[in-house]
Symmetry: C2
């Protein structure tokens, strides 16, 4: 599937409601469980997505549009949320993510991006020149990556409870590494 | 996390709304894409979850409660939905899944299950004796498995579009095998 701005927004606009439906009001036993030391809980994932809205995707897109083709992205801090969200509730974070995403999509819409702008480039700290089109596609996939992660991390809280069913539920033995 | 009936319902009750938020009204380019031949699209996953409501989890739970400890489950048909849902729309399937799930949770609640009933067993066609407790836990994990699958399969439709970001988005190179 080729990149398409409207098709990208189709996903980006749905993520906050999907996470609210999955996680809103959920007890800590589901939302605070992890896959092991230094991995994200569902709560951490929502904090990480908030960081993405504030410091990653749209700030980098704006830099590409504002600067020349050598616009160099700031490195992204995967753990900013850890200190930021102490004492916050999950429902509060879900609301904040929804507000930030809505504002970012409004800003994106206001840019009325055309093909020439989507081909503009910036410099990613790890892999060099990337187009605005690739950055926006990665924003979409990043959302879906973390929806999948939330479901996987929750599932693993029942690793023992399913008994022999573990053989038929491969989500229980998937990745243990944190991912961003 | 030990099995807990209320904590299980916490997840089971949220899955239909989570899928509606993620998939409701989504164009076919997202919902009909797969990971390759003989793998599920998001549309297929919702059909598979409907099959689970009608032929798998609660029918097997009812059999455990109705029969003796040697209640033998019917083998489950992973592809029933393929013929069943030709010409159906995704939104129609999402509504049907929500109705079936609500009815099943009402039935589950009506059973007022206690510890003794949760220890009753049935015979799974592949791995033999399983408890009702394990079956209900597996129902929860199966939901989460397929939420993760939907997000992963959608993400892969943008495999090419993200360019070099594929290195930082492992969901794009996860499982290509169909899973149930």
């Amino acid at each position: 599937m080729d990149f398409n701005l409207d098709r990208s927004v189709d996903v980006l606009v749905r993520t906050p409601a999907a996470l609210q439906a999955l996680l809103g009001g959920l007890p800590d036993s589901w939302s605070r469980g992890t896959e092991g030391p230094d991995t994200f809980s569902a709560f951490d994932v929502v904090g990480h997505l908030i960081d993405g809205e504030e410091t990653d995707w749209m700030p980098r897109a704006a830099l590409i549009l504002a600067a020349g083709s050598d616009a160099r992205f700031e490195p992204y801090d995967r753990f900013r949320h850890r200190a930021r969200n102490v004492n916050r509730s999950l429902d509060d974070l879900l609301d904040e993510f929804a507000r930030l995403r809505a504002a970012n999509l409004e800003l994106l819409h206001s840019w009325r991006l055309g093909p020439a702008q989507l081909e503009r480039t910036g410099i990613h700290p790890t892999f060099g020149a990337v187009t605005l089109r690739q950055l926006l596609a990665a924003w979409v996939v990043h959302d879906l990556e973390h929806v999948a992660q939330v479901a996987r991390v929750m599932a693993k809280q029942y690793f023992e409870a399913v008994g022999p069913w573990v053989r038929f539920l491969p989500v229980l033995t998937d990745h243990e590494r944190p991912r961003s």
